[in-house]
């Protein structure tokens, strides 16, 4: 028998961060991971293929600070990648930071409009990031200390919006809830530009760019400056850094220990039981698994009927698959200079293309012409991996994800890639097709959804993952959610774990 102050279930980004934050505040923490390695969904790999998450764009600086790796203590550099919008006619467009030009170096006629738009989105993103960096308000009396803190926090956000100036503030409040398709096309008629922004607005989501609320997602992505980075050593290195931070802070980290039950006594958590029957005791349990599996671990009888219904109604339809291709050599993309082969390569030739790709997903079919984000993490390497994210491949595919369906997805992906590099399919030596069902199997995330719960407006901020469950604590006393399903959501950001840890600390003092 072992006793800790806090148990964290799951050693993904958020679990590790939550553990490290709590341990650094003097709590004894035990992190339990079902798999044999840490890293959760982001670090998910198949044999020696690249990890599921191949790029990082919003690892939060407050998270780094709170786990003891702030500022210069962060151990390695990440390289900001330019984005290339691939075009079938070889006239690719490069977006580097806010600078826009053609891949052959010539000027793009909409470069200024695009740069302005990116700068605007980044500015708005900066505001939304402030909302992400604290637990959402609610629940506390406005005269209590916690209540005052929330008021101060809200006031600061309000002031930030006000400081945009009158006309920018109006524009912000208008575009915040609008759809990416119209918003982008109003400014950028060139499909190569509108396509990649539309694709970014819906990445990982079960929605198309014409759906209202997609500008919000786009802004959210830009919340950390908008840079897309490729970490040295890949995602695995980031995960290792996080797990070292947790260990250094004093966390006990156990892998290969799937939790099968959250123990309770008198409506208060007392610990957990693992598959091997071991029990670990603690007064607080933070779970980085999704709300429904967490509730099941604790027992649904701890939840009233309304809470149960809300948890069951959380939408999490994964729509994104990972296709890793081992190539015999670096591919040739006509029109793309060799030095850009290592960029983030996007195939989304127009906003309409992205919307059309989404259509079949609504009815449980995969896109016949998918949106693809491809990265060659090491183009100079022998037999390099091409890591691609393919959208849309819905988790609820009609007929299920059989081997034949996976093969179809692979062929569709290759056919799409052949549109910009006709010789690429011939180079493929080995392929890994990681569909949402496999992601769910490996991680337990419902629907294999990147964010455990759809990042749509009705599941964000105070109502993430569901109404009245937005303050991390759920069900029996001492139980908290700390995964991507909570505010502010997924990606390799770490804020869900950090915010949940702060909330748990607040509850125990």
């Amino acid at each position: 028998m072992s006793q800790f102050d806090t148990i964290v279930i799951g050693a993904g980004v958020n679990g590790l961060v939550a553990g490290a934050v709590l341990a650094r505040r003097g709590k004894s923490v035990c992190i339990l991971e079902q798999g044999d390695t840490v890293g959760g969904m982001a670090g998910l790999t198949s044999s020696d293929g690249p990890a599921l998450a191949h790029l990082i764009y919003n690892l939060n600086s407050r998270v780094r600070r709170d786990i003891g790796l702030g500022g210069k203590d962060w151990p390695f550099k990440s390289k900001a990648l330019p984005t290339v919008s691939l075009s079938e006619d070889g006239k690719h467009v490069v977006v580097d930071g806010a600078a826009v030009r053609f891949a052959d170096g010539s000027d793009h006629p909409q470069a200024t409009a695009c740069s302005d738009l990116i700068r605007r989105l980044t500015r708005y993103g900066d505001l939304l990031r402030q909302l992400a960096e604290a637990p959402p308000p609610g629940g506390d009396s406005p005269v209590s200390r916690a209540g005052l803190k929330q008021l101060w926090w809200l006031g600061r956000f309000g002031l930030g919006v006000k400081r945009l100036g009158k006309s920018e503030m109006r524009a912000f409040l208008q575009v915040l809830l609008s759809n990416a398709y119209d918003f982008i096309l109003d400014e950028l008629p060139d499909g190569r530009l509108s396509g990649i922004l539309a694709a970014d607005a819906v990445r990982g989501a079960a929605t198309g760019p014409r759906s209202p609320g997609t500008v919000f997602s786009l802004i959210y992505r830009m919340g950390h400056g908008g840079d897309v980075t490729l970490p040295q050593g890949g995602t695995a290195a980031v995960m290792e850094t996080l797990s070292n931070a947790a260990k250094q802070a004093g966390c006990t980290l156990k892998t290969g220990a799937p939790v099968v039950r959250i123990l309770t006594d008198n409506d208060h958590v007392t610990g957990i039981e693992t598959a091997s029957g071991d029990r670990v005791y603690a007064k607080q349990v933070l779970s980085s698994v999704a709300p429904l599996p967490t509730a099941r671990l604790a027992g649904l009888h701890h939840f009233d009927i309304e809470a149960t219904r809300r948890i069951r109604n959380i939408r999490a339809r994964g729509t994104t698959a990972k296709v890793n291709l081992r190539l015999s050599r670096a591919p040739v993309i006509p029109g793309l200079p060799g030095n850009l082969l290592g960029a983030r390569l996007l195939f989304a030739p127009s906003a309409d293309y992205v919307e059309q790709a989404f259509n079949p997903a609504k009815y449980g079919d995969m896109s016949s012409a998918p949106v693809i984000e491809a990265v060659l993490p090491a183009p100079q390497m022998d037999r390099p991996w091409l890591s691609t994210i393919v959208q849309y491949a819905p988790s609820d595919l009609s007929g299920g994800w059989t081997d034949a369906a996976r093969e179809e997805l692979l062929q569709t992906t290759l056919a799409t890639l052949a549109r910009i590099s006709p010789t690429l399919p011939e180079l493929v030596e080995e392929a890994q097709v990681i569909t949402p069902d496999l992601i769910e199997q490996a991680t337990g995330a419902p629907g294999g959804h990147w964010h455990h719960a759809e990042m749509s407006l009705d599941q964000l901020l105070t109502i993430r993952p569901a109404n009245l469950l937005g303050r991390y604590a759920i069900g029996p006393k001492g139980l908290f959610l700390c995964g991507a399903a909570t505010h502010p959501g997924g990606d390799i950001m770490g804020l869900s774990g950090r915010n949940a840890a702060l909330m748990a600390l607040e509850k125990t003092g």
Binding site: K166, R170, L173, Q174, G213, K362, N467, L468
Partner: protein
């Protein structure tokens, strides 16, 4: 009444909102002239005899949203307005069954239980949730939307009212409200119901008139927009205006004229005249010129600003924002004269729901696919139809024994795609006929012998709606009902108080808060703002002059 050269206010367009604004202002003692391009009044709330003996409500066709405050203030029943509620409705299926919707709660429960006992239970929660949202939103309809970027006392006051109302909901309801407003009707229904047909029946109101699909976030609000009205205090109830929708316009016009107002038909506004950044009057297409310090435009904001105002007198930002205002045609209409009542073989004889709204869509995916067709510039292969036979309740609509049928069609694009181009010009006779064929096929699901009864059929695509009524792109709401174009964002952020950067020019149509539907609220709110701002400035003389 004879025309004079000078008025206090000129209202451009005799739609129901223009007439509402005019009637309120006339009651306040101002000299008001309404000018209308058509030879008849009413805009999209009209009754027209296009086939001898039959009256068509050929645009809007049912009534619920008209605010009762307006009915009362303007004494509309005194001027002949009578609204007759209709009972329920139904969705018919291809395999010869139907789901009936009854306004009688117990009957509805039994009908739902026929498909799913769980759904019958869920309906309790569903209708409560909708009703709560209706109660929350209704007080805002006849108030101004505050500009959050402004520190004017009025805006702060309205903002405080909003915060107070939101706070009054309590944490739980506030969360539910935030969710509801940002959800898709498909997701909302999926949370409550399991039966496809029941969901399809209820989802229709979430897409009527919009360029969104049942899975698009924000469509739950559109549903609310169709539920927040009332008839005789019955929230969510719909009815027919006796004599067709034109009866509403006629009553508004009579109320207006009784208070000294003048309506000039047959010549639309050619230009809104300005001098030194201020409105001075209007020049009509027939060459007449009328002077007034205030012009209220019932036309949609795009038409008003882009076609009738000299761009040089407006700030560039504002014109760009108007240019980007989303106003997409998405619906068509068939108005049909029937020689007798057609058969609905699935329904029991004389079923009450045959007198209500009838549909033929069977599932949410079917509705969403209808939207996918629209996105690429085609009318839906299996459109959502909302059809009614008002002559069963209102005998004034057709000769004895004969009937009039109104069929609303969703989706039909304004910019029809033909041979690689997308344009409103593509709507020629052949295209209209082909679309009508699609719709009649859809009607046949419910009533297979419909073709034998058709005496005359009027087919209206969004292009006709634009040409005849003047609604840009044939959008029935004068602008999409999406978050970025609602409340303080409607029509343009910073101008939700019905004003424009051009002094003296006001927007009083559905482009303004709270939006479309035969509601009258934009018209009433615009009148209030005109009175507040312009009479205080002493620009209007009223009868004293």
């Amino acid at each position: 009444m004879t025309l004079k050269p000078d008025y206090d206010v000129i209202v451009a367009g005799a739609g129901h909102n223009g007439l509402t604004t005019a009637a309120y202002l006339a009651r306040a003692g101002l000299q008001v002239l309404v000018v209308e391009k058509n030879d008849w009044i009413g805009g999209a709330a009209v009754s027209r005899e296009l086939h001898p003996g039959w009256t068509y409500s050929n645009c809007s066709y049912v009534c619920s949203l008209l605010r009762r405050e307006i009915v009362r203030d303007l004494d509309l029943p005194k001027y002949g307005l009578q609204v007759i509620p209709y009972e329920g409705g139904a969705s018919f299926t291809r395999d010869g069954n139907y789901f009936a919707y009854y306004s009688d709660h117990d009957a509805l429960r039994r009908e739902m239980a026929r498909y799913s006992p769980r759904d019958a239970d869920a309906y309790q929660r569903y209708s409560q949730a909708i009703m709560r949202q209706c109660r929350f939103i209704r007080p805002f309809l006849l108030r101004d939307a505050p500009d959050p970027a402004s520190l004017r006392p009025r805006d702060l006051g309205e903002m405080a009212y909003l915060v107070k109302k939101a706070h009054g909901l309590g944490a739980r309801e506030l969360g539910e409200t935030l969710r509801f407003w940002t959800m898709s009707i498909g997701d909302f229904l999926n949370e409550h119901f399991e039966n496809d047909l029941i969901k399809a029946h209820l989802a229709g109101s979430g897409i009527i008139g919009t360029g969104l699909g049942v899975y698009s976030p924000g469509t739950a609000y559109v549903l609310l927009h169709h539920y927040m009205g009332d008839i005789d205090g019955g929230i969510g109830a719909w009815g027919f205006a006796r004599g067709g929708m034109g009866a509403i316009s006629a009553a508004l016009a009579a109320s207006f004229e009784t208070h000294g107002g003048t309506i000039h038909t047959g010549a639309g506004v050619a230009e809104i005249l300005t001098q030194n950044g201020r409105v001075t009057g209007v020049a009509l297409e027939d060459g007449k010129v009328f002077n007034a310090p205030v012009v209220a435009s019932n036309m949609d904001i795009k038409r008003t600003i882009l076609r009738h105002v000299d761009r040089d007198v407006l700030p560039e930002d504002y014109v760009r924002a108007v240019d980007r205002f989303k106003i997409r045609g998405s619906s068509a209409k068939l108005n049909i004269a029937l020689d007798s009542l057609p058969q609905f073989p699935a329904a029991p004889d004389h079923a009450s729901f045959l007198r209500g709204d009838m549909h033929t869509s069977e599932s949410l995916p079917e509705l969403e696919r209808a939207y996918d067709d629209w996105k690429i510039g085609r009318w839906s292969e299996k459109p959502y139809i909302d059809m009614l036979i008002p002559s069963q309740i209102d005998p004034t609509m057709a000769p004895p024994g004969s009937h009039m049928m109104t069929v609303f069609v969703q989706y039909a694009p304004y910019d029809l795609a033909v041979g690689g181009t997308r344009s409103g010009e593509n709507w020629d006779e052949a295209q209209r006929k082909a679309m009508a064929e699609t719709v009649v096929n859809q009607i046949e699901i419910a009533c297979p012998d419909i073709r034998n009864h058709i005496l005359h059929m009027e087919v209206r695509s969004p292009a006709e709606l634009e040409r005849e009524v003047g609604l840009t792109e044939g959008n029935i709401f004068q602008g999409e009902l999406t978050f970025d174009q609602l409340f303080f964002n409607r029509p343009i952020p910073g101008y939700s108080d019905y004003s424009t950067p051009l002094k003296g020019l006001y927007i009083c149509g559905s482009s303004a808060h709270p939006g479309g539907g035969v509601m009258g609220a934009p018209g009433a709110n615009a009148a209030r703002n005109i009175l507040r701002r312009e009479t205080r400035a002493g620009r209007m003389k009223g009868y004293a002059a």
